[in-house]
Symmetry: C2
Subunit: 490 residues, 2 copies
């Protein structure tokens, strides 16, 4: 079993500890603060909550976690030492000396420093070859990027070993080919920070307006494609050279407070265009456009579930599309409930489909689940009611897959009540594209107390609404496929 | 029915046209290019493919789209005119004059300009009050942000009307309170672009390395929280003042090529801290941390489906967790197939759960679908085989929900073959947390030709593997719940 020594707790050290620990490594934390264990606990809790979500296969069992005040104990025999002590060179030198006095000579020593170059860290070191920058991003237990920066004195074989280890715990190691203050990413953050400070100072925008300008626009793009690929894609079939011919050294004019800009020579243009081709020339622009939109859709839709950022914008728009239609109605608003009720009408989104463009099996149940939720709200079991402690849980579901449907198709679900009395509700959903039947979903639900998680009586209002519809639907013929078992003869 | 006139086709004009059209507006496109319709077609196709994915309720029917070479025809009686002509002031002035000679005096005139201030656009205009900047982000049919910039001469009631309309078509209008070159967001892009050019020129990083430094790190954060909220969250309970005390006017030191930085006075600190409190003081830092991680997980997991960016990193890590286990095996690798086979072992991710932290109904089928896919791969119906044109489609599914399970719990699915011969496969999945039964899924599948979408014979290899397991499992007792219909007596 591999062992990592984490020198310095806190948000960054704790994130490293969590990443290693949850990937099965033993972790020893060294921090002179007697409260170190208590301070690490919240970061560990956050990591235990979120990191396992990243893979569809379970992580290994957690390793052993221990806390140490003796450096020799902390680093004896370990495979990896990660230094995350305060950003003062003299402190880092002192700590690295202490580490190297006791650690294996072939262990990886990574520094989380955001500001120092590896050659600065190596000054006066007993074994400079062991030392490299491994700069993470908060939260370390989620963000893939680690900027790996060797100096010319660092042992390159050890750097490659470090990168292999980083990949094995789910990181994306980015080799920084030339040491430079702040490496790569933080230089961009610094540039944006300074421009943001000017905007706030000059009263052009508040912190909130700046944040929305980021997260409602290019911020979403950059979660899936960086600066150059975004412009390559936008430049269309004419490609990167065309984009740069149009925009040159300044995206428009020298607007910012930020004065210094490189001269846009043919050499620089060639360099950029060539690197862009090497990076993404294997994809056509059409493919990049398709990938971009697939990615944006998937990410934006995920924010809907959290009603956050762009997702909140989409939810509000959706609410306006529902308003005044049966998709937002209460049963009392409907004069005629004699027919199955429309509970879903939506396009099949891109992220519900497979590479063939057909809706995935599980999404049929997602649509039927949405239909059930809508029907529940229709009879009064809406978000407000659920907040008072009652809801319906699904006990049993039967789905017949009749036909395929493509991304973009508008599907409708109509819901018939087969039975609704007391704690029980038995629904039959039919999914159509136009008049083409796609699937049926038969569901048996029980009203429950969210406190006890046991069956309970619904409110009088719900009983009344459900009874009214159940009675009206009792006159309807039994739908095709109701009451089937899997593999039953037709 | 509302009508929008789009002046200038192309990527931006086309994006606006698509956004209005797909939200039910009639759209008239004015562009002197005889190829305007052909040039718009790809953007429209992209929009039709992606925009309907954003809402879980169907958009209205598309409006009518027409192309015009006569300005009077294009703008007579319209509600909104959006100008997206080339970024030269004299061209914009000419076009705006032509628009105003023929459009309603109370129509909204928005300019997509990324560089000019509204007061510059208004120079010499017949009715300056109608003119405002409405600056979009590519692709306009997906990105929520529109920077709305009035000048002091713009009619504020018209600006508010414009913002209402923008919301109604799914945008996020951001009022820019003080006109400034490039508005807000592009000033940040400009700052990053210049720093990136230096890094490429100085050989510190290639375009690809810069892009990965963005999209594997802060780029993902910025899709859900902007600059200030990210630092507020990272600053912990001590908050924004503490963060700024630590970092001040430079996140570290004046590293960048970008020289000019504002003086960090108490006044500036107060301003920033106060605005940050106004922006996000309604949430505790703990809540922001939780939201952040929920958002990051959801977005990163969505990129797995596309095997893109951070999603590809996660898929690779997951593959290493499967390697050498039954979760990556072929049936031929298994000596003993007499027991139900482990097909899923994973943690319940955060985005599979509802506000109560319990796994959503539809995700049970997603897990069972994953189990079916794993079993298919086990018998040889893997991605390579599917690429040759054969697969299994699910015809019928029966799910019994037995118990609830929380985010983070490790669930296992074990799969028993009830029947497997010829084109048919009948599987029974049981989902457990430890020894606690959570749900069962019974599935009937048919092997199909992906070309004809009709049942077809599987390959000899698949038949052999399936037959071997079906024979071994025939000796197992029938699982509890197999062959049930919904609502059947136990």
């Amino acid at each position: 079993m591999k062992t990592a020594a984490i020198i310095g707790g806190g948000v960054i050290g704790g994130g490293w500890a969590a990443r290693f620990l949850l990937n099965g490594w033993d972790v020893r934390v060294f921090d002179p603060d007697p409260e170190a264990e208590a301070k690490l606990a919240p970061v560990l809790a956050q990591a235990r909550r979120a990191l396992p979500s990243l893979t569809d296969v379970a992580l290994p069992d957690e390793g052993a976690l221990s806390f140490h005040f003796d450096m020799a104990e902390a680093v004896a025999g370990v495979d990896w030492i990660q230094e995350s002590v305060p950003e003062r060179l003299e402190i880092k030198h002192k700590v690295l000396a202490s580490v190297q006095a006791h650690c294996p000579p072939d262990a990886i020593i990574g520094s989380s420093t955001s500001g120092f170059k590896p050659s600065e860290l190596q000054e006066g070191a007993a074994r400079p070859g062991q030392i490299m920058v491994c700069h993470p991003f908060n939260p370390v237990y989620l963000m893939p990027l680690i900027e790996v920066v060797p100096s010319p004195a660092t042992d390159l074989a050890l750097v490659e070993k470090a990168e292999t280890i980083l990949r094995s715990v789910g990181h994306f190691p980015l080799r920084v080919r030339k040491e430079i203050d702040a490496h790569i990413a933080d230089r961009f953050l610094e540039a944006v920070w300074r421009e943001a400070l000017w905007l706030v100072k000059d009263g052009v925008a508040t912190t909130e307006e700046i944040d929305e300008a980021i997260r409602m626009g290019f911020g979403i793009r950059w979660a899936q494609m960086g600066l150059f690929d975004t412009y390559r894609t936008a430049g269309g079939e004419a490609g990167m050279r065309h984009f740069m011919a149009q925009f040159g050294p300044a995206l428009q004019w020298p607007w910012t407070k930020l004065m210094d800009v490189p001269e846009f020579t043919d050499e620089l243009v060639d360099l950029i265009a060539g690197q862009s081709d090497a990076q993404s020339g294997h994809m056509s622009i059409a493919d990049m456009l398709k990938a971009r939109d697939d990615n944006l859709v998937g990410m934006m839709r995920s924010l809907k579930a959290n009603d956050w950022g762009a997702g909140a914008v989409m939810n509000a728009h959706e609410a306006s599309l529902r308003a005044g239609t049966v998709l937002a109605a209460h049963a009392d608003d409907l004069d005629d409930v004699s027919e199955p009720i429309l509970t879903v009408r939506r396009a099949v989104p891109l992220d519900w489909t497979d590479y063939n463009g057909h809706m995935n099996e599980a999404r049929y149940l997602q649509a039927f689940g949405d239909a059930t939720d809508r029907f529940m709200a229709l009879i009064g079991c809406d978000a407000d009611y659920i907040a008072t402690g009652g809801s319906y849980f699904t006990a049993e579901t039967h789905i017949r897959h009749v036909d395929e449907v493509h991304a973009g198709a508008v599907i409708e679900v109509r819901t018939q009540v087969l039975a609704g009395a007391g704690k029980k509700m038995h629904l039959f959903h039919e999914m159509y594209e136009g008049t083409r039947l796609l699937a049926t979903g038969e569901h048996f639900l029980l009203h429950v107390s969210l406190e006890t998680r046991r069956p309970s009586e619904p409110s009088a209002g719900i009983v009344a609404a459900l009874t009214r519809i159940a009675s009206a639907h009792a006159a309807l013929p039994a739908p095709d496929g109701a009451g089937r078992a899997v593999g039953q003869r037709p």
